[in-house]
């Protein structure tokens, strides 16, 4: 691998990391607040990519498609949590049971999309724009837009969680929902808002993912789910800042591995890093002690 390809691969890794950060922060927020490992997350991403696609086909711009995707994700996630997941939790469904429920929801969503759109592929109408060379890295305009969007979203999420009352309420709910409720925090509303925010990130991630892949179908988001979970795990489940850092690590490692070794092993290397890190730090990069807890009712 030449030094120029090495530098370029870091740039390409940053694009992958940006998409992954949007997705994994949303995913880890849901888990952090609700303790639900939402395996339908990738399929909601796909559904929102289709929502953005509908806007795009109707003549909407890419920002409008992104807004549609975010809105779709926010609405779908809140409804899903309030009217499906939460009733299961209230009926006593435990962690593993909820994993199965979310898996079932994912399969249902995927098959609804397959039935509605068929087994074919779709592409947004948009221009990737001109190429930009920066420190030996090569980006096109659309990728810079993805990186910018991700950076802004991450800053806003971090500010929300650390500088606002809502963010503190979310963190309190995530840490100990019973105590948070006893302290006067309306945990149901806080949970709704957390799912609204994480759903918006999920929808945004769905649209930027399919903008970058150029073509998508009913399974596209689900194909991305494993690496999303890996980023969430690596960062420390329930830790948005950790998910951000882990996304950069995984994004860059996969691309550099593709150049250094062989493309076949790019995922192997990424998951190898995950395993090694978890071996020495089981709670992830940003995890703090054991966080296993039952789903709050």
């Amino acid at each position: 691998m030449t030094s120029s390809l090495f530098v370029q691969s870091i740039g390409f890794g940053l694009v992958t990391a940006s998409i992954l950060a949007l997705a994994s922060v949303g995913f880890t927020l849901q888990f952090g607040v609700s303790n639900i490992l939402n395996l339908a997350y990738g399929d909601i991403m796909t559904a929102c990519a289709f929502a953005g696609y509908a806007v795009n086909q109707a003549g909407g711009s890419i920002p409008e498609s992104l807004a549609a995707g975010a809105g779709c994700g926010a609405l779908a996630s809140v409804l899903l949590n309030r009217y499906l997941y939460r009733p299961f939790v209230r009926h006593g469904t435990k962690l593993f049971g909820m994993v199965v429920v979310t898996l079932a929801v994912g399969i249902i969503v995927q098959n609804i999309l397959l039935g509605a759109y068929g087994a074919t592929f779709f592409s947004y109408n948009f221009s990737t724009g001109r190429q930009v060379h920066f420190l030996g890295m090569v980006f096109d305009t659309s990728q810079l837009m993805i990186i910018g969007l991700s950076v802004v979203a991450m800053i806003l999420v971090q500010l929300l969680l650390t500088r606002t009352r809502l963010g503190k309420a979310m963190r309190a709910t995530a840490a100990n929902p019973s105590l948070a409720q006893a302290s006067g925090i309306a945990t149901d509303q806080v949970t709704d808002l957390a799912w609204l925010l994480s759903g918006a990130l999920c929808g945004l991630a769905g649209v930027v993912l399919v903008l970058n892949t150029s073509a998508f179908q009913s399974t596209t988001g689900n194909d991305f789910l494993v690496i999303i979970i890996a980023a969430a795990m690596l960062g420390g489940v329930g830790r948005p800042a950790g998910a951000m850092a882990a996304s950069v690590v995984l994004g860059v490692v996969t691309e550099v591995a593709a150049g250094f070794i062989t493309p076949s092993f790019k995922e192997v290397i990424a998951f190898g890093v995950l395993v090694v890190v978890l071996l020495f730090r089981p709670t992830g990069i940003f995890g703090q002690g054991a966080t296993v807890k039952e789903i709050p009712t």
């Binding site: 030449t2 390409f12 694009v15 397959l114 592929f121 073509a215 790019k266």
Partner: protein, 432 residues
């Protein structure tokens, strides 16, 4: 405890009843499948992916089954069985899903007399199941392992993947490309022709400058594309699923390195062409792409018979129906149903154990044999005591001792039907 005992006592007869039902179902599928003496319905199953990454395979096979079944019904059916139908069974393109799907299909379809499939995704896991159940199958799998298999109920009238690779090498050589890169998905289906295209191109004097096996469905392949650009190939050999290929070639285009690329038969299907066409632009796809596909003539009397039959049922196949008119895999599926149906007529039995050996016989030339091109012609000839040779929409069917009929290859442009070159099996063998 009482509650538990009561559950147990109600479960016992229920379990017994279930066992009896399953046994009856299994007996139905293993015995005189289709009822050689009765006149009940007969079912051909399309066992292929209808969902998942290769969800386009199933509709393609179904587009051959439906017109064949309709034409057989119109010709009065098979040996008094006047209701011939096609049943779909979704393998999801994954052995883990395919095995229970195949078992369920066999156990619950007592009228099952033949299968279209399996595809490469699930063939290794499910061919033994159909073989054990004595169900003739016409695989659309390209896996070389079935070139010389011992499965008596396995037939294939489409070329194996390794032949595709040699054909691609021959085409590239004849076009004068000196250097090539091979970019293939790292799944079983895509890897089938990688070895032979590399070996064949080298044998013909070409130089392989890069081989990439890429993981499927990632968000980006820019590093791989940069490595490709650095290798400066004059042509790219490729196969991956539509989304992977679309992402990859979109990035090749974005980095300004789009040039000629030759795809396997997996790339000539409408979803692949649509996905990659959208990604690189239809004009670029038309300019730079050709794909290999099993040769099937799109002119002549037999083609017109096929065309008339699929147009007659065009509303029943996946739309737009026109995508299947020149699709060699759909035409092969049509031929496969006709072969099995004529074998039943010739054997005077719908029992697969009895009619299976006749599948080869009705396609084999013999002195005095009447050449027929569809089921109705064959049924008429057989009813007059003639022997027949079926020559189908895919042309002459010549089974080898392993019940494979590899046939020829053509190369088509991005419309999926305009042929730019055709090679016989003998010509392709020059790369071996």
């Amino acid at each position: 405890m009482r509650s538990h005992a009561r559950h147990a006592s109600t479960r016992a007869p229920a379990a017994g009843l279930l066992a009896v039902l399953l046994t009856l179902a299994a007996c139905g599928s293993h015995g005189s499948t289709g009822g050689s003496g009765g006149t009940g319905p007969l079912t051909f199953a399309v066992f292929n992916p209808f969902s998942g990454k290769d969800a386009s395979f199933g509709p393609e096979q179904l587009a051959g089954c439906i017109p064949a079944a309709a034409a057989i019904n119109a010709a009065g059916g098979i040996l008094g069985h006047t209701k011939i139908s096609c049943k779909t069974s979704d393998s999801r393109g994954d052995p883990a899903d395919a095995v229970p799907a195949a078992e369920a299909l066999i156990a619950t379809t007592s009228s099952l007399v033949g299968v279209l499939g399996p595809s490469s995704d699930e063939a290794s896991a499910t061919v033994p199941l159909f073989n054990r159940a004595h169900i003739p199958m016409f695989g659309d799998t390209g896996q070389a392992v079935f070139n010389q298999s011992s499965f008596k109920y396995f037939y294939r009238i489409t070329p194996p993947d390794d032949a595709v690779g040699y054909a691609m090498a021959v085409y590239a050589h004849q076009k004068g490309y000196a250097t090539a890169a091979a970019v293939f998905g790292n799944d079983i289906s895509s890897q089938g022709s990688l070895g032979t295209v590399v070996a064949g191109f080298k044998k013909l004097g070409g130089k392989i400058v890069l081989v990439q096996s890429i993981p499927l469905d990632l968000s980006s392949y820019r590093t791989e594309v940069s490595a490709l650009a650095a290798a400066h190939p004059s042509v790219i050999f490729t196969e991956a699923d539509p989304q992977t290929s679309a992402t990859y070639f979109a990035e090749v285009k974005q980095l300004g390195h789009l040039g000629p690329f030759i795809g396997t038969d997996g790339t000539t299907q409408p979803p692949w062409l649509k996905a990659v066409g959208n990604a690189v632009g239809t004009a670029n796809l038309k300019r730079f792409y050709v794909g290999a596909q099993p040769y099937a003539p799109t002119t002549g009397a037999t083609y017109q018979l096929w065309l008339a039959q699929i147009k007659a049922v065009s509303h029943q196949v996946t739309q737009p129906a026109s995508q299947w008119y020149g699709d060699s895999y759909s035409m092969a599926a049509w031929d496969s149903i006709n072969l099995m149906a004529l074998a039943m007529e010739a054997a005077k039995s719908t029992n697969p154990v009895v009619f299976r050996p006749w599948i080869v016989k009705v396609a084999t030339p013999s002195p005095g044999a009447v050449v027929v091109h569809n089921f109705a012609q064959g049924k008429t000839a057989l009813s007059h005591g003639k022997t027949i040779q079926y020559v189908g929409a895919t042309g002459l069917i010549s089974f080898d001792r392993w019940q494979n009929s590899p046939g020829a290859f053509s190369f088509v442009t991005s419309d999926g039907s305009t042929k730019v070159a055709t090679y016989t099996a003998a010509q392709i063998s020059s790369a071996k």
